[in-house]
């Protein structure tokens, strides 16, 4: 782009969002060019901070006129390069879209703008609607509620109610051509966001697309009653196959809000720098999180869990009771806490590849993760979390690496690709895959699926401006 054209675009953007909310300074371009993942950095040409739907519409129209790519970004925390503006152009930082528009305590939903953070919504509900909760992800409080929901993120009641994408009851989206589309009941009455039932459901056109089909500006997210008691029962298990059997039984009994399994590297703050598992340390740690409205109800749920465990012990499975340190209990129950493991390599690099697999395949997925990581010289941290009574289970592979070491970056890219392929072999799907892994998925996917992605993108985005590197079907 010529210097004159660049200046013209800057002036136009400033006119839309105000001078203070546009930058083409090297400092901003540098910061927004990268994330902690192994994806290659790429600088935007403009960073824009819109405040209203109308401002975003104007920016999108300008981008169409000038054929400038747009990459939307909320918290920027996918740890998979999804907010890196790989095609340059406009980086749309959506954090100023931070209004909690409405909470309906009867139909139990909150309508939030796309910049509302999980920390903000959690605090707002605690202060204003203490009997209600939303499914809070195990992530920094700066994470956007909408971004988490649009990438199938999960929260602390996901075993009971499903992923946060399952909890969307309506969306407001700015299409790549600048029009506003609403999905769900709000398409009929823009004050009613209670459900997406009964109508043709366009919501899926915007979930898992990472911004390639439009910019979600508002989202109605389901809220849930908040029980007074929340506690957990803890076990330590050495064999992954024993763990899977327990998971299959526990999920079907529907007593837990959430089940979290950590590999040994993720269970204690003082273990994170260990390269080899010390003697006496169990491989896997199982946290069964229960909630109740009375002590009697809690005790009954706990007893159910203990009975299942006892029955499995009788079958010869080695399941130890476990009492984690207080800090870890807080980590599990209170609020999301940073994973010290992410700083293991002291190089500012961390990537968190999640995969959703059939629950019965978790054991194989775990072993593959360990094998692949070790064969390339990486320490592993794996987390397992079943959803919605066990209809699917997430297995997350976390890695720490040194960003300044190109050889290490490349080696980890190989690890991620191998895990991605291995998971697809098992019938699973990588979660929030990086643009690099998206290509691997498309390579394996049914040709009609790939063709349809291309058709949808072309139909919605004739100028190809919206996050063009996401689900790109071009060679």
């Amino acid at each position: 782009m010529s210097r004159n054209k660049h200046s013209e675009v800057i002036r136009a953007l400033q006119k839309i969002v105000g001078k203070d909310n546009v930058s083409d300074s090297p400092e901003e371009l540098y910061y927004y060019s990268s994330d902690p993942s192994t994806e290659n950095p790429h600088a935007p040409e403009y960073v824009v901070l819109p405040r209203t739907v109308e401002e975003i519409q104007e920016v999108v129209r300008l981008a169409n006129r000038e054929k400038i790519p747009i990459t939307p970004r909320a918290g920027g925390l996918t740890l998979a390069g999804l907010a890196i503006p790989s095609s340059g152009g406009i980086l749309l930082d959506l954090k100023r879209m931070n209004k909690i528009v409405d909470v309906n305590p009867n139909s139990m939903y909150a309508v939030v703008e796309c910049g509302v953070t999980t920390g903000q919504l959690k605090t707002f509900l605690e202060n204003t609607f203490p009997d209600l909760q939303f499914s809070v992800p195990h992530a920094p409080p700066i994470v956007s509620v909408v971004a988490n929901a649009m990438v199938y993120g999960s929260g602390h009641v996901c075993l009971k109610y499903g992923t946060n994408s399952d909890m969307i009851s309506g969306l407001e989206v700015i299409l790549p051509t600048g029009e506003v589309l609403r999905t769900g009941a709000c398409a009929v009455d823009n004050k009613s966001w209670f459900s997406k039932y009964c109508l043709p459901d366009f919501t899926g056109l915007f979930l898992g697309w990472f911004g390639a089909t439009g910019i979600i500006t508002k989202c109605a997210i389901e809220l849930w009653p908040k029980p007074m008691i929340r506690d957990a029962v803890y076990y330590a298990i050495d064999e992954i196959d024993d763990m899977v059997e327990i998971l299959l039984r526990l999920t079907k009994r529907e007593v837990a809000d959430d089940i979290y399994v950590n590999s040994w590297t993720g269970t204690s703050l003082d273990r994170y720098d260990m390269t080899e598992k010390p003697r006496g340390i169990t491989e896997l740690y199982l946290d069964v999180i229960l909630s109740a409205r009375s002590k009697e109800e809690y005790d009954s749920k706990r007893k159910t869990v203990e009975q299942i465990v006892e029955e499995e012990r009788k079958k010869g499975r080695r399941i130890k009771s476990h009492s984690p340190p207080q800090s870890l209990r807080e980590y599990i129950l209170l609020v999301p806490q940073p994973l010290q493991f992410m700083d293991l390599k002291k190089g500012g690099g961390s990537e968190y590849l999640g995969c959703y697999v059939p629950t019965e395949k978790v054991g194989m997925a775990y072993r593959e993760g360990v094998r692949i990581a070790k064969s390339h010289g990486f320490q592993y941290l794996q987390v397992i979390r079943p959803f919605k009574a066990g209809h699917a289970t997430a297995i997350m592979y976390a890695f720490s690496f040194n960003h300044s070491n190109p050889e290490e970056v490349q080696r980890l890219q190989t690890v991620l690709a191998e895990i991605c392929n291995s998971i697809m072999e098992l019938g699973g799907i990588p979660w929030k895959p990086s643009p690099t892994l998206q290509k691997l998925i498309l390579k394996r996917a049914d040709p009609m699926f790939v063709e349809f992605i291309g058709k949808v993108k072309t139909m919605l985005d004739p100028n190809g401006i919206m996050a063009p590197d996401k689900w790109s079907t071009e060679e």
Binding site: S25, G119, I142, P338, G347
Partner: protein
Amino acid sequence: MSSGLEAYREMISRCYKCGYCKFTGPVISHVEIKEAPFYVNCPSYDRFNFETYSASGRVWTAKGLVDGNLKWSDRLLEIVYACTTCGNCSNQCAYEISKQVVQIIEAIREEAVKAGVGPMPPHRKFGEHLSNEHNPYFEPHNERLRWIPKDVDTLDKGDILYFVGCTSSYREKEIAQRTAEILNELGVQFAVACDEWCCGSPLLRTGQFEVAKQHAKHNVELIQGMGVKTVITSCAGCYHTLKADYPARFKLYPRFRVLHATEYLEKTFGEKGIMETGIEEPTEKTKVTYHDPCHLGRRSKVYDAPRSMIKRLPGVELVEMKRSRVNSLCCGAGGGVKSAFPEWSLEMAKNRVKEALETGAGTMVSACPFCKRNLGDAAREMASSLKVLDLVELAYHNLRK
């Protein structure tokens, strides 16, 4: 790039932009508050919104400079100086870099000064005045002790030195006066130094390291020359600078101990049984809230002494703001922000005044003249009924009752 920022090269490379630094909240490694709501904690991030204006943004700016990917510019200076260095970010960050975030920001400022592009013009101006008159308020050095009331007894030498600080000497004189009067009433013999120089904090925070060092050396030699064993400060900035920065930054290891006035008075009140007997508790208690100064709280971990002192005062009920102790919101005055960004500085103070008003307190006390000044300015501008006092002033009035 010279050695100052280069020394942080390894640490700078470890920030992975997780964003924990941007929110107040409970963090495992800092378990003082178990349950706290999440609020955006960085006033600069809250005001300017670009990621560059967060702690992570500044660390990455440092990385850009060290790696040669960024060059000095007006924008870069604004990013680096639009920060009160309140340290709230470092308390929320749970990684090893948390211990050095503020130092990294100060190191960028030092590099800017060395490179001849920093500090910002108002800082440069007070820096020049400091070189000659040893205070940042454009006042003559020989008027430093004018605050002393006629009926107060002070010594020229002694075991205890009251290090008054520039703000209490020239602007918030009541703090110095009430401190001296209370010490007199307690029978504590103390000296003041007519050749006291600025502790160097405003210089250090704005990157003017060399002039700060001259001031530190002068003060250490002066105080040790007076045979002082204990230094009492009113100012949280003086306290942290004398106690922590002199050894850490200037390799000066004074033989005297440093106490903040609230630490000294709390201990002395306890020993002398002041306010514990003989005073009848009023039935109606006055609600007072306490603002933790960043230099005293987060940076020096002094949270309890001021609170214990308030609790000793009869007729006073301490009520906490929604953000207190490690999570305390900055008053907006520090880090050179009040001089370089006066309007924004006042906005920050107004936000803190609003938090104080939410508690239902009629009085907000702090333990730093700089905090008192900015919060007081904000309360006046808001035409608020909230009284803003230093804790020593509150104690003095309470004693008089």
